[in-house]
């Protein structure tokens, strides 16, 4: 009974898979720092979406649930941060953290009854949540200024030092998105992460092994809401202006495209998807009126040939490599 078996759920010897994406992200950010403000802005949006999608991946990828309403928490984050920092003079970082707490509480209150639903019903309920918050941002003009939007939002700052250039902010966004991915990776490898994965695999089997699926679904939903809220706040501080459309249905569709293109349920998929989907339209801008068609064609091409997303290609590569080694 002295058999030594490694119980880590990741196969050993694949360190490059963790290091390579970090190097690629840092290289991309470095490239951004020597580029125009326009490129910096596009990259900034990509990293904000990377944070949003990393959170969404917890609920949809790791736990296998459907949520069409995470934009609601981004809106809470964005408007909360904007109001607290602009009208009440809070430090942006403090406002971001406070609205994350608010979003977390909202997620518990909404998630507790909603997560009893499954499949399409859960998707519709969460979609309704997104629509309700969207309507509130339009109609509650005394708080949100409606379609006029909220302007003059101060940039993010740390300990009194304002990140008042776009390039400073890009660095902060890169660091924050990498921290976000790092936290997600640690959680995925933990007992908690394995419990989420078991829910995605088979809810009844997970329950039979002792996993409290209602509790874990709620925690995953709250984590996704915290990430969404942070992304919403970061957007407000990065652009300095927000309006209801930013946190509308487009955000949901965009984030789905990023998640599936990058690789849902994978560690780096959300980041890869966010970067590709943000940069691709800009790269195809020279095609003018053909831009949208080319953009869509590229997305469809990737989804056909990499159905598990771009991050999923590394798994195929690893398997092929394993087969070659086995034959040798």
């Amino acid at each position: 009974m002295t058999s030594h078996v490694t119980t880590s759920i990741e196969p050993s010897g694949i360190r490059w898979q963790s290091i390579l994406p970090i190097v690629a992200v840092l290289a991309l950010a470095g490239l951004g720092l020597v580029s125009s403000d326009y490129i910096v802005t596009v990259l900034g949006f990509a990293f904000i979406y990377a944070i949003f999608c990393t959170g969404l991946n917890f609920f949809m990828g790791y736990t296998g649930q459907a949520s069409f309403g995470q934009s609601a928490f981004a809106a809470i984050g964005g408007y909360g941060s904007a109001i607290l920092s602009t009208d009440y003079g809070w430090e942006p970082l403090l406002a971001l953290l406070a609205t994350m707490v608010l979003s977390g509480i909202a997620a518990v209150l909404v998630g507790y009854p909603t997560l009893r639903l499954r499949g399409h019903y859960l998707a519709m309920a969460t979609f309704a949540l997104g629509l309700i918050v969207y309507e509130i941002t339009i109609e509650w003009t005394a708080l949100t200024q409606g379609y006029m939007g909220y302007s003059g939002i101060p940039p993010l700052g740390i300990a009194g030092f304002a990140l008042d250039t776009l390039k400073h902010q890009l660095v902060a966004l890169v660091v924050l998105s990498l921290i976000g991915v790092g936290i997600a990776a640690r959680l995925r490898q933990s007992r908690f992460g394995r419990a989420l994965a078991s829910i995605a695999g088979s809810e009844s089997a997970a329950q039979a092994l002792g996993v409290d699926i209602a509790r874990y679904k709620l925690i995953a939903f709250v984590i996704a809401a915290l990430y969404a809220s942070a992304a919403g706040s970061l957007f407000a501080h990065f652009v300095g202006f927000i309006s209801p459309e930013i946190y509308g249905t487009t955000m949901v569709i965009q984030s789905f495209a990023m998640l599936y293109l990058g690789g849902i349920g994978t560690m780096w998929g959300p980041m890869i998807g966010a970067i590709i989907v943000s940069i691709l339209p800009e790269a195809l801008r020279g095609l003018k009126e053909m831009q949208d068609i080319a953009y869509t064609a590229v997305l469809i091409f990737i989804l056909i040939f990499a159905p598990r997303g771009l991050a999923g290609l590394s798994v195929l590569f690893r398997r092929a490599h394993g087969r070659v080694q086995e034959k040798a």
Binding site: M1, T2, S3, H4, V5, T6, T7, I9, P11, R191, R194, A195, A197, S198, A200, G201, S202, S204, A205, A206, Q207, A208, L209, G210, V211, D212, I213
Partner: protein, 242 residues
């Protein structure tokens, strides 16, 4: 939690009294009672649609049920499936319920969810029983053969340290030799003191293992007898032994 005053003196491992379950307006399981003694291997036989799976799901609360259930004399009625797993009641579902995208290792590690500190020792004990799983450790569960998948399903359930193991059709879709091998393993587990409740279509195989049998028909247990008594019931013997 009330404590069962057992009629028989010996407190059973599991006792269900008037347990029933419905799907909408259809009562799939009529009020029915059964018990399993400590260290006993009991099988439930019955035709397709008789309510065998519903009975298993009702006992493990995967399906909402009525009636009272006792585990070692303590009432566990209404406890959720995860709480029952904490008590040591673990079920291997029909179709195995594996996590197909995950590796064999991941499936086993999740099996030890309630006992993370004992993952290594439990895994070693599973490999003793099913050495083939050790060879397939980094292979995805979905890529295993049917027999290996069933070994993994049972192995994963053993990681949860069951005191009562419920298995729903473990030989489903397996070649006779493999089915016989899998069911033979259950005998070994039973020897180690694990109570087993087995639903099995391959009745002759199940009857070789079990000490007692319940026959279920139209959502109700219609007979309870010791395995060797089945031969004296001509209609049951004709139906289940050939």
């Amino acid at each position: 939690m009330s404590v069962l005053a057992s009629d028989k003196g010996n407190v059973p491992l599991l006792e269900a009294r008037d347990i029933s379950a419905s799907y909408g307006h259809v009562q799939a399981l009529k009020p029915t009672s059964l018990h399993i003694a400590e260290g006993e291997l009991v099988t439930i036989l019955g035709p397709n649609g008789a309510g065998k799976t519903t009975l298993m799901r009702a006992l493990t609360r995967l399906t909402a049920s009525k009636g009272n259930v006792f585990f070692r004399g303590e009432e566990i009625t209404g406890l959720s499936t995860p709480r029952l797993a904490r008590r040591g009641i673990v079920m291997v579902q029909e179709g195995r319920g594996l996590f197909p995208q995950m590796t064999v290792r991941e499936n086993l590690v999740i099996g030890a969810y309630l006992h993370p500190a004992e993952t290594d020792t439990q895994m070693a004990s599973v490999f003793e029983l099913f050495p083939r799983l050790k060879e397939r450790l980094d292979q995805s569960a979905g890529s295993l053969s049917g027999g290996e998948q069933q070994m993994l399903a049972i192995g994963r359930a053993l990681m949860a340290k069951p005191q009562l193991l419920m298995l729903d059709e473990p030989s489903l879709g397996l070649a006779p030799r493999v089915a016989s091998e899998i069911l033979g393993t259950l005998r070994e587990l039973n020897r180690r003191g694990i109570g087993i409740l087995l639903v099995e279509q391959k009745a002759p195989l199940a009857l070789k293992l079990a000490q007692r049998v319940y026959v279920i028909a139209l959502g109700k247990i219609v007979a309870e007898l010791k395995t060797d008594e089945i031969k004296s019931h001509h209609d049951l013997a004709r139906y289940y032994l050939h």
